[in-house]
Structure formats: structure tokens, C-alpha cells
């Protein structure tokens, strides 16, 4: 079923948009009401089309019906703008399965732009989320935000200006993020507490950190098995404009790919460069400033089975955004020197050491030409720095590709 909506409402564009810091724009209340009513009354299988135009909204939209497609005329043509939003913590909140959203933009939401909670078979493609004022601490936290979802395809999206992560996949299973662009967010793309994610053919640039693979404590599901490949991760040196207390607050400006507390992560065939702190950072929860009073006993804070191979590294590590690291760089590598491409905070699980070393299947294994690693000795207070590659000359089994459910994969092919 197809509903061609808003034919009559599509005409008036807002004239007030030019006065930028003036009073908030007037909302298209009729449009808003009609669209929200359609979302409430939608039936499975329905395609709701939103025509081209800039639509001004002042409260959240939400969808709770499964099997619905929300479709615009293009990410630069159909624009839902939430500047001056009065209520709701996001632009669109979806609590439904078999959901597709495509070809539209959500701009200037107060909180998150698109949040999808708890559904299966989610396709988000050619959607743009943006804070049009550029990077700012008062921007909403997340652009594209599926959480506790399963079978998720994020394809060809653009995420700009989020005060946390542009594309943030949390506590999910079976996820593909591809062909997307994340720019000028604190974190470009973040995969958190997720089991089975493929992140490829994306561009992350101008963020504080490009691509993050994190595990947070005290959540129902620890994540593992993420592949990050064929991405261009470049020049993510933006000053961190996130909020203390959030996971991204600990990201130093100038971070390419960051792994924190996650296991089984494979980083390969990427172009990663122009990062002042490091092209790749591998770290534990202990480096985020929290103690074990903040973690449930079963939390594993150690990054294990990390496989880095065949990437093309550009310059990096010349001016780290962290006092200890600055001092360390100066002392060990000199004023004009640089940190190696891969920076590791050096925390290992003492219970898992065999003869003082991590067994190969849990190690950080590097097979990346000339690229080196620096162990900055976080546990020892940054004293016994090491660039010894010996413990890292190992191989890990390649991770399997994420296989999206057939229907979803097929839908993806049309893109």
C-alpha cells in the first residue's frame, strides 16, 4: 500500500529560515499533525511518502507499527527540520521491526535525530542527519542511532555535527554500516556492545575520533566480532566537544580508529591517516577515568583478540591531544618525532597471562608492513614505554562476514 501524503501541504516553504539566530521558525503544525497521525495509524506494509520540501517540526515523531517504510524525495530534497523543538528527546523514535527509512534528512533536532529501539530488520539508507550550525556542544547526541536492534543495514547515510556519535549502533546484533559519511561529529561511527558488525566503504573525516568500537559496562550484552575495512578514515582532529561522563569524552582529538574494551575486532584494508594522536588506538575501560566501583563484576574491560593488518597508514601521532601522551612523545620520539601508528594503553587481564604474556588468541596481532605500536604503559603510570613488536607478531583467524537476513540483504542490493 502506498499513501501519497501531503500533496496540498507540500507547497509552502518557510521564509523565516534565513534569520538564523532569530526566534525559532514557525512549525508546519498541520503537516506535523498529519504526518504523526499517519505514523500512528500506519498498517504493516504501508509506504509513507514525504514530499520534497523543508518541513518545520516542533515535537518528536514516533512510529510503533512494524513493516512501515518512510520515504522522502532525497536527502537534500525532503528535509525535516526541528530547530526550536519543544518536546521529545529525538526527531523520530521508532520502536518497531521491518522498518525502512530512506531518502530524507533530519536536521537540528534537540536530542538524537533518528533513534530505533529494539526492532529487527532495519534499513536506514540515504538518510542525512545534520546539525546545520556545525559542531557544537549543544547539538543533539546521535545522528543515526539503532539500539538493541538485530539485522540492521545502514547504507549511504550522511551524519554531520553530532555532539556524540554521528552513526551509533548500540547493543545490537548483525549490523552492516557501509557507503556512509560521518563528518564533524565527536565520534564519526561508533559500534558499541554489538555482536557482529561489518563497517566498510565509509568515509569518516573531521571528527574527534573516526571509527570507534567500544564496550560499555553494566549493559545486558557485551559486544564482539566487528570488522572495520575498506574505509577512509582521515583527518579526525576536531577538538572534542562531547560531554564529560559520556563514552566519547575520553577520545583524544586526532584519533583514527579506536577500540575500547571490545574483543575480536579486525581492522584491515583501510586508508587511515592525518591523525595527530594516533591512527589506531587500542585501550581498556581503565583509561576512561572510571574505577571498578562503576563496573559490575562480570564486565571485561580488556580489549582482546585485536587483528590489525593490511591498512595503508598516512601520517599521524605528531601532536597527541593528551598531556601524558604529549610528554611521552617528546621524551621518547623527540620534538619532531611522531608516535607509531598504533597506540595501546597496555592493560592486560593478569588472570589470562601465560608466562607473562597474553596467549596469541587474545593478543593484539599486527601484520601491517612498517607500522609500529607503542605500549604507553597505562598500568605503570606511563613509565615503561615499549615499541617492541615481538608480542604483536601473531595472526588471528579472520572474522566471518556479517550475513544479513536474506530479505534485508536483497533490499540492500537495490541501493
Amino acid at each position: 500500500m502506498r499513501t501519497a501524503a501531503f500533496a496540498l501541504l507540500a507547497l509552502p516553504l518557510l521564509l523565516t529560515a534565513c534569520g538564523d539566530s532569530e526566534a525559532p521558525p514557525v512549525a508546519n503544525l498541520d503537516f506535523q499533525k498529519q504526518l504523526q497521525t499517519q505514523l500512528i495509524k500506519a498498517k504493516p506494509g504501508e509506504v509513507i511518502e514525504i514530499p520534497a520540501g523543508t518541513w518545520q517540526l516542533d515535537r518528536s515523531l514516533s512510529l510503533k507499527v512494524s513493516g512501515v517504510t518512510l520515504k522522502g524525495a532525497g536527502m537534500d530534497k525532503t528535509i525535516l527540520n526541528f530547530k526550536g523543538q519543544k518536546s521529545g528527546a529525538e526527531g523520530l523514535l521508532v520502536d518497531a521491526s521491518d522498518f525502512t527509512i530512506e531518502d530524507l534528512a533530519m536536521e537540528d533536532t534537540k536530542g538524537d535525530a533518528l533513534k530505533v529501539v529494539g526492532g529487527r530488520n532495519i534499513i536506514i539508507r540515504r538518510v542525512r542527519t545534520e546539525w546545520t550550525n556545525g559542531p557544537a556542544t549543544e547539538n543533539g547526541a546521535y545522528g543515526i542511532y539503532p539500539v538493541q536492534t538485530e539485522n540492521v543495514l545502514v547504507d549511504g547515510v550522511v551524519a554531520i555535527g553530532a555532539s556524540d556519535a554521528g552513526i551509533y549502533v548500540g547493543q545490537s546484533r548483525n549490523v552492516v554500516v557501509r557507503n556512509s559519511r560521518a563528518e564533524r561529529n565527536v565520534a564519526g561511527i561508533e559500534i558499541e556492545n554489538t555482536i557482529g558488525a561489518d563497517v566498510y566503504d565509509n568515509v569518516a573525516t573531521g571528527n574527534t575520533g573516526g571509527i570507534l568500537v567500544f564496550n560499555m559496562p553494566n549493559l545486558p550484552q557485551p559486544g564482539h566480532s566487528t570488522r572495520v575495512y575498506r574505509n577512509r578514515v582521515e583527518g579526525n582532529n576536531h577538538k572534542n566537544f562531547g560531554h564529560k561522563g559520556t563514552p566519547v569524552a575520553s577520545i583524544p582529538a586526532g584519533s583514527g580508529v579506536v577500540i575500547n574494551s571490545n574483543d575480536k575486532v579486525e581492522i584491515f584494508d583501510n586508508d587511515i591517516g592525518e591523525h595527530r594522536t594516533a591512527n589506531v588506538i587500542v585501550s581498556s575501560y581503565f583509561s576512561t577515568g572510571y574505577t571498578d566501583l562503576s563496573t559490575e563484576a562480570d564486565f571485561d574491560p580488556y580489549p582482546e583478540a585485536i587483528h590489525i593488518h593490511g591498512n595503508r597508514f598516512g601520517p599521524g601521532g605528531d601532536s597527541p591531544d593528551n598531556l601524558e601522551l604529549k610528554a611521552l612523545k617528546l621524551a621518547k620520539f623527540g620534538l619532531n618525532g611522531r608516535l607509531p601508528d598504533i597506540l595501546w594503553d597496555g592493560y592486560v587481564n593478569p588472570d589470562k597471562l601465560v608466562d607473562g604474556r597474553l596467549p596469541a588468541e587474545l593478543a593484539i596481532c599486527i601484520d601491517n608492513g612498517e607500522a609500529g605500536i607503542v605500549n604507553v604503559d597505562g598500568p605503570g603510570g606511563y613509565k615503561n614505554i615499549s615499541t617492541d613488536m615481538t608480542p604483536h607478531r601473531c595472526e588471528l583467524p579472520r572474522l566471518p562476514a556479517v550475513e544479513l537476513q536474506a530479505a534485508l540483504a536483497e533490499a540492500g542490493e537495490d541501493a
Binding site: K33, Q34, Q36, T37, L39, I40, K41, R59, S60, S62, L63, K64, S66, Q85, K86, S87, G88, A89, L93, D95, A96, S97, T109, K110, G111, D112, V117, G118, G119, T137, E138, G140, A141, Y142, Y145, V147, Q148, S163, D164, Y168, G170, Q171, M216, P217, N218, L219, P220, H243, K244, G245, T246, P247, A249, G289, Y290, T291, L293, S294, T295, E296
Partner: protein, 368 residues
């Protein structure tokens, strides 16, 4: 004005005389467009009150919604009753719960900011009615229906997409509080009342721990659970009420109701419908339901997960001894839609509620 009252009187006269039972709608989607059609509330003698056979009720500690007062009612079809269970009653098909949101107004017509007190009938010239939410138990489950009152206060109309009102409230000192009152749309209703999509809407207020209190009925004060049982609305209430959970009585804690119990009752009523292991707030790992002990999962020294600017640059949800270092307090204070908790249902902050929460956090010992 007088003509209006006359019209009003005529409109409702018929209904009063007939005294028909409220609408029984066990199935189907033929929901009436007008609230009056349900026959749950009636206007009579310049008052809005529960119709015959419809029982008003009140909660121990209620949800804060911009200082709105609430008239709550329950009705069940003749001969049917709910089955008591500690966590959630099993209500019979046809049950109608109504909650009318209003503000008291003074003789000059100004809306007043005051804490809720239970009343059975509303003098229409001394209240501003905003919305009435109907929860209807049908064969396939509960349905949430938002009705918005018209300006003339004659009737309310079903509005799936919600509404908003710009209001000004005046307190006893003459201070004026601006309220951007939001009537939720049907999805937002479900946002609190449905734990997860497909699991169905559930009532939140009329549960044992919230209802377990006295109510002053026309014939005197009686515990509500016992009254419901006596009226045939509820079966299986434990003979000894001492075994029934009971939240603290808001604003006037009973003897023995500790500060912690008051705070947890408040967080229960205001947060736990989302923040529990099944609800929409589960993704944060923060559970503020009564079953969760005071530990990391209840926020103690817990780092926020995806709070974004909701963290307020604070490192943990509850920092013992320090409300000013606690995300929980920050988000309860805020009125920014992207920061504030609860996410819906208020545009102002609840001073009295915050006072209790902050005092409680300040009273906690420990470090993070």
C-alpha cells in the same frame, strides 16, 4: 456567558436523567470521538464528576506533569472484577480507566500552581480542564485514547496526534510559571505504557503499591484496595494489607516512611515505567524499578551510556553525598527536551520532587 452555561446545562441534562452505564467496548476500533460518549464523567450542577458506578481513585506518589492535577477513575462492566496481583492487576475486558488533567483556577480565572489533592468533583468555574486520557481494556489488550478538552470546557475530542497549550501558573506568592503543556499523541502514550512494541499497553497507576492508601469517599476514608474489593472491582486482595507493597505518601509521608522510601517511590512513579529491565529505558542499563536494589544498576556510581548532553558533564548517575555530581539530579532539574527526564510530560521542573531526590542523594554515604 450565561447563554453558554444554559447550553451546557441542556447538553448534559439528558445524560444525567438517564444515568446510563459507561460504554462497554470489548472489541473493535469504533472509539467515540467525544469523551462524553463514554459516559465515565458527567457534568452536573456546574461540576464535573464520575458518573454513577464510576469510582475515583488516587495514588500514593503520582507522576509529575507540570503541576497538573488529576482526577482518576475506574469502571468495570457489571459483575466483572480485576484479579489482584502484587505487580499488576489483571483487569477484565471492558475496563475503563480515565485520567483528567486540570489546573485549579482562582476567582479571577488565573491558573494556580499547587500540589495535587484528591477531589471527587471539579467545580467547572474553578478549573481549567486540559485533557482526559482513557485507557480501555479490550479483548486484544489495552488501548490508550487521548481526548483534548475544548476551550469552553464542554467536551473533549479524541486527538490521536496530541495537542499543546501555552499556560501560566501562579503560585501562592504570586510568582508566575510558564508551562508549555504537551498533550501526548497516541504513540507517546504507548511510549510510557507499552514496555516494548508488540507487548501491549498496560496501566501504570492502578497497581497495588500505588493504590494502597486511604481515599476519602463520600461515606468516609477507606483503603482503596479494600474499597475496590468491597465494590466488587477487585478480587484476591490479601486479608492483611501489611503484606501489600506501599509507596510513600507524597508530600505527607507516613510514619516510618524513610527518605529513601520517599525517593524510591518518586523514582518509581516518575521513571520506572521506562527504566526497568524490559522498558524503553533498558538500553541505558539504569533500572529505577522497586525490584532493583540500590547498586550500580540503580545508578550508584554508574556511568551513563548514551546520555549525550544529558550527562551534564557529570560522571555518574548517582554520586553518593553529591546531587551536584549526579546525572540523575541534573536531568530531573533540566527542562531541555534533549536532556530532561522524564523525556515527556513536563516542561517545568518539579521543585518539591527535586528537593526530596537531592536530599536523598546528599544523605548517601560512599565514594565512586
Amino acid at each position: 456567558m450565561r447563554a453558554g452555561w444554559l447550553l451546557l446545562a441542556t447538553l448534559f441534562l439528558g445524560a444525567c436523567e438517564q444515568q446510563r452505564a459507561p460504554l462497554y467496548l470489548p472489541s473493535g476500533e469504533d472509539y467515540p470521538d467525544k469523551l462524553s460518549t463514554w459516559g465515565v464523567l458527567q457534568q452536573r450542577g456546574g461540576q464535573l464528576q464520575p458518573a454513577a458506578g464510576v469510582l475515583p481513585y488516587d495514588l500514593n506518589t503520582p507522576l509529575f506533569t507540570d503541576y497538573a492535577h488529576k482526577l482518576r477513575t475506574v469502571w468495570m462492566p457489571e459483575g466483572r472484577s480485576a484479579q489482584y496481583a502484587e505487580a499488576q492487576f489483571d483487569y477484565p475486558v471492558g475496563t475503563l480507566l480515565s485520567k483528567t488533567f486540570y489546573y485549579p483556577r482562582d476567582a479571577q480565572g488565573r491558573l494556580l500552581r499547587s500540589e495535587q489533592h484528591g477531589v471527587e468533583a471539579l467545580r467547572l468555574d474553578r478549573v481549567r480542564l486540559l485533557e482526559t486520557r482513557i485507557l480501555l481494556r479490550q479483548e486484544q489488550g489495552w488501548v490508550a485514547l487521548p481526548y483534548v478538552w475544548d476551550e469552553a470546557q464542554r467536551d473533549a475530542t479524541l486527538d490521536w496526534a496530541g495537542a499543546s497549550f501555552d499556560l501560566q501558573l501562579q503560585d501562592a506568592t504570586g510568582e508566575v510559571l510558564a508551562v508549555d503543556y504537551q498533550v501526548p499523541d497516541a504513540n507517546q502514550c504507548a511510549g510510557c505504557h507499552e514496555q516494548q512494541a508488540g507487548k501491549g499497553v498496560q496501566p501504570l497507576g492502578p497497581k497495588a503499591r500505588h493504590l494502597n492508601r486511604d481515599y476519602v469517599y463520600a461515606d468516609g476514608a477507606v483503603n482503596q484496595l479494600q474499597r475496590w474489593q468491597a465494590e466488587g472491582l477487585l478480587q484476591g486482595v490479601p486479608a492483611d494489607l501489611a503484606g501489600v507493597p506501599r509507596n510513600a505518601l507524597w508530600g505527607a509521608p507516613r510514619e516510618g516512611e524513610s527518605l529513601e522510601h520517599q525517593a524510591r517511590s518518586y523514582l518509581d512513579a516518575n521513571c520506572s515505567h521506562c527504566h526497568n529491565p524490559e522498558g524503553p529505558g533498558r538500553t541505558s542499563g539504569l533500572y529505577l524499578d522497586p525490584a532493583t536494589p540500590l547498586g550500580i544498576a540503580y545508578g550508584l556510581c554508574k556511568q551513563p551510556v548514551a546520555a549525550g548532553k544529558g550527562s551534564g558533564d557529570r560522571l555518574v548517575d548517582i554520586h553518593p553525598g553529591a546531587p551536584e555530581k549526579s546525572v540523575l539530579s541534573f536531568r530531573l532539574h533540566s527542562t531541555d527536551p534533549s536532556i530532561m527526564m522524564p523525556e515527556l510530560g513536563r516542561s517545568t521542573s518539579h521543585r518539591e520532587g527535586l528537593e526530596v531526590i537531592d536530599r536523598w542523594i546528599a544523605s548517601l554515604d560512599g565514594e565512586c
